[in-house]
């Protein structure tokens, strides 16, 4: 039983609901930054003995996911002159209920994947990580703008990383760095793509990205 981990988990769940109900792009970015912070603290909270390399990894994680990526997103947002409102495809109240439904499924799944008795604080790892992953997927699907899809992807990735750190799976510093680097480069490329799409389509609503449907692909010429 680990009190700090439980508190972080509760905040993670709250952040998902906040993200579902959030109507401002900047707030969404802040919530994702908050998740990055929680995620960075997670291995420190879960570990029994804190090693030097864990502090280093936490520092890297926080500086990347809670500071650098949100800054990058904000820059992309300003460059592409995105409107601040999100224009959701699914209304906020409905989003909340869907995310809640996702959480229900995650808790149910987490119960099915029952852990051994001595798992202690890890028992919430599966349901909370799945909740965050499902919220991320939902945001990717239910929000119009390309940049919100990036936010959704970051949430999704945070959920996966949460699973890894709460399960205390040591994949080695090289892999951890590799994962962080991949995520950073991905968001960077996505940011550039957002700007290019913005200049080519004069908007960045991803639901207008429908040139390549099976029926209409002839028009792509």
């Amino acid at each position: 039983m680990n009190v700090q981990v439980e508190i972080l988990m509760a905040f993670f769940l709250l952040s998902c609901l906040m993200l579902a109900a959030c109507s401002r792009m900047l707030h969404c970015i802040r919530i994702v930054a908050l998740q990055g912070l929680l995620l960075g603290l997670m291995p420190l909270a879960a570990a029994e003995h804190i090693h030097m390399h864990q502090i280093g990894a936490a520092f890297l994680n926080i500086s990347l996911k809670a500071v650098l990526l949100p800054l990058l997103l904000k820059a992309a947002m300003h460059k592409a002159q995105v409107k601040r409102e999100l224009e959701p495809l699914v209304g906020y109240a409905a989003s909340l209920l869907i995310v809640l439904g996702g959480m229900f499924i995650s808790f149910w799944l987490g119960r099915k994947l029952n852990l051994p008795e001595n798992a202690g604080a890890l028992r919430l790892a599966v349901p909370v990580a799945f909740s965050v992953v499902l919220t991320g997927l939902f945001i990717i699907m239910a929000r119009k703008k390309a940049i919100t899809q990036v936010i959704g992807f970051l949430t999704f990735e945070n959920g996966i990383a949460l699973f890894g750190s709460a399960m205390m799976i040591e994949c080695g510093l090289a892999v951890e760095l590799g994962i962080l680097l991949d995520v950073f480069v991905l968001v960077f490329i996505m940011g550039i793509a957002v700007m290019r799409i913005n200049s080519a389509f004069e908007h960045i609503d991803s639901d207008k990205l429908n040139l390549l449907e099976e029926q209409t692909h002839g028009a792509a010429k």
Binding site: L113, F153, F163, M167, I169, C171, A174, G178, I179, L212
Partner: protein
């Protein structure tokens, strides 16, 4: 040592190309990088026979499937590099509707792409494998948007978002593998293949099932298995010819290799569970490919769906534990698909369209191109003496009654769809050629695939005699 050389050499050349500004230098550097990489692969083959110890055990190791994958990638890259040298000027001259990426950016990112694919082949650790596969996505995404058209940007965005999410699922699967080890009686040590294979019988079955499904979905998405194939036709059809060759011939093999790695850690009692899923997804891919090929208007998309079909076949091979046949099929598919995508690029260069109904009578306008195009189409459908014919015969023999029928039916539909398209394009009266001045360039560019076509031909004849 050679593993590191193969991974870092293209990366170094990528940096050199990015720094150089002269077109001649870029071309020379690209060709040199491709040749040096191929030389390294050949040296590695020699060393593999000696069974030397790995340089970084648990991180980078060269084994047989990995070698096949890196070998295909390297050979393909060599062909692509040479093709690009001639294709780039022609493309700049004739395809002028859209602004494009600069040449040095294209060549540099292509080298990076090769580097990430080599890393995937040699990774001996599930974490590193994930990092490498994600890196291949990142290195290939800018290549898809070589033309800055709306359609290409859209294809790139879809590719980035869908593949990243899919690969994310694979990361979740990787962590679950770790959890499966953590809750086993042996405990979790690290994510290397070796430690997993050594404790595989003790893994927690529930977590392993979840891990396998997540990895299959994630890497299967990257590979193009139905129902996760949605990004694939867009990406293949919008990317320029050299890039679509690399995507369809080399990248999918890397993702398949990742699934191969995961199946190596399957405990004995879950073997049938995992096989069922592989075969099920494979059959679904065959049927999806058949449905979309039969009514396809765009010949590049048709080739993309053909990739879905062959990935499905490879999954079935692996599900039936026909490992050698699967690797053979992989080689055959890469060789045939390479030729076809080169030719598709040439046809697009001359006709400026990807819809086959605007193209007819290629036998009279560009006879060499027509021969290779038709021959390639027949080869990819598994008409003897294609190497794919041999492997598919082996598959049907092993699969038996019902499963065999389920495989043959879509294969037949695909054969009909693809040959019809190829025949309509090549036969008939010579149609309108929009870019008459590009015909000589198109024919010249067809010489490279014409030479390459001898590889599957010879291999196929050899295999039939071996059967």
């Amino acid at each position: 040592m050679i593993e590191l050389y193969l991974i870092f050499l293209p990366a170094v050349f990528a940096a050199l190309i990015a720094l150089s500004r002269k077109p001649v230098v870029i071309k020379i550097l690209l060709a040199v990088a491709a040749l040096l990489h191929l030389a390294g692969v050949i040296m590695l083959f020699n060393r593999l026979q000696e069974d030397a110890a790995a340089l970084l055990p648990g991180w980078l190791e060269a084994d047989f499937p990995g070698m096949i994958v890196v070998c295909i990638a390297s050979a393909l890259f060599c062909a692509v590099a040479i093709y690009t040298l001639f294709w780039l000027p022609a493309s700049r001259k004739f395809e002028i509707q859209y602004p494009t990426m600069s040449s040095h950016a294209l060549c540099s990112v292509m080298c990076l792409f090769l580097s990430t694919m080599s890393l995937t082949a040699f990774a001996a650790n599930f974490g590193l494998l994930w990092v490498a596969v994600e890196a291949t996505t990142l290195a290939s995404a800018p290549l898809i948007a070589f033309r800055r058209s709306r359609a290409a940007l859209e294809a790139m965005w879809k590719y980035l978002v869908i593949c990243s999410v899919g690969i994310g699922l694979a990361l979740l699967g990787t962590f679950m593998l770790g959890a499966a080890a953590r809750f086993s009686s042996q405990g979790f040590t690290d994510l290397s293949f070796r430690s997993f294979i050594s404790i595989k019988e003790y893994l927690d079955p529930q977590y392993f099932k979840a891990a396998f499904l997540f990895c299959l979905a994630g890497y299967g998405l990257k590979m193009g298995l139905a129902p996760f194939h949605v990004w694939l036709p867009d990406a293949y059809s919008e990317s320029p010819a050299p890039v679509s060759v690399l995507l369809s011939g080399a990248l999918v093999n890397c993702s398949f290799l990742a699934i191969v790695r995961v199946t190596a850690a399957v405990p004995e009692k879950l073997q049938s569970f995992c096989s069922e899923y592989l075969i099920g997804l494979g059959i679904l891919s065959l049927f999806v490919a058949a449905c979309f090929i039969i009514r396809q208007k765009d010949f590049k998309r048709m080739l993309a769906y053909s990739s879905v079909e062959h990935m499905g076949l490879m999954a079935i091979f692996w599900g039936l534990q026909m490992t050698d046949a699967a690797l053979l099929h992989m080689i055959g598919h890469s060789a045939c698909k390479m030729i076809l995508f080169f030719m598709a690029g040439n046809i697009f260069l001359v006709y400026g369209t990807k819809e086959y109904r605007y193209i007819s009578g290629m036998f009279s306008t560009m006879p060499l191109a027509a021969c290779i195009w038709l021959g390639g189409m027949l080869f990819i459908c598994g008409v003897p003496p294609s190497p794919l014919f041999t492997t598919e015969i082996m598959l049907i023999q092993k699969a038996g009654g019902v499963l065999g029928l389920l495989i043959l039916l879509p294969l037949f539909v695909i054969f009909c769809g693809m040959t019809r398209t190829a025949l309509e394009m090549t036969m008939g009266p010579a149609g309108e050629v929009p870019r008459k001045e590009a015909v000589p360039a198109g024919l010249r560019l067809s010489i490279i695939p014409a030479f390459l076509a001898f590889i599957p031909l010879a291999a196929g004849i050899y295999l039939i005699f071996q059967l």
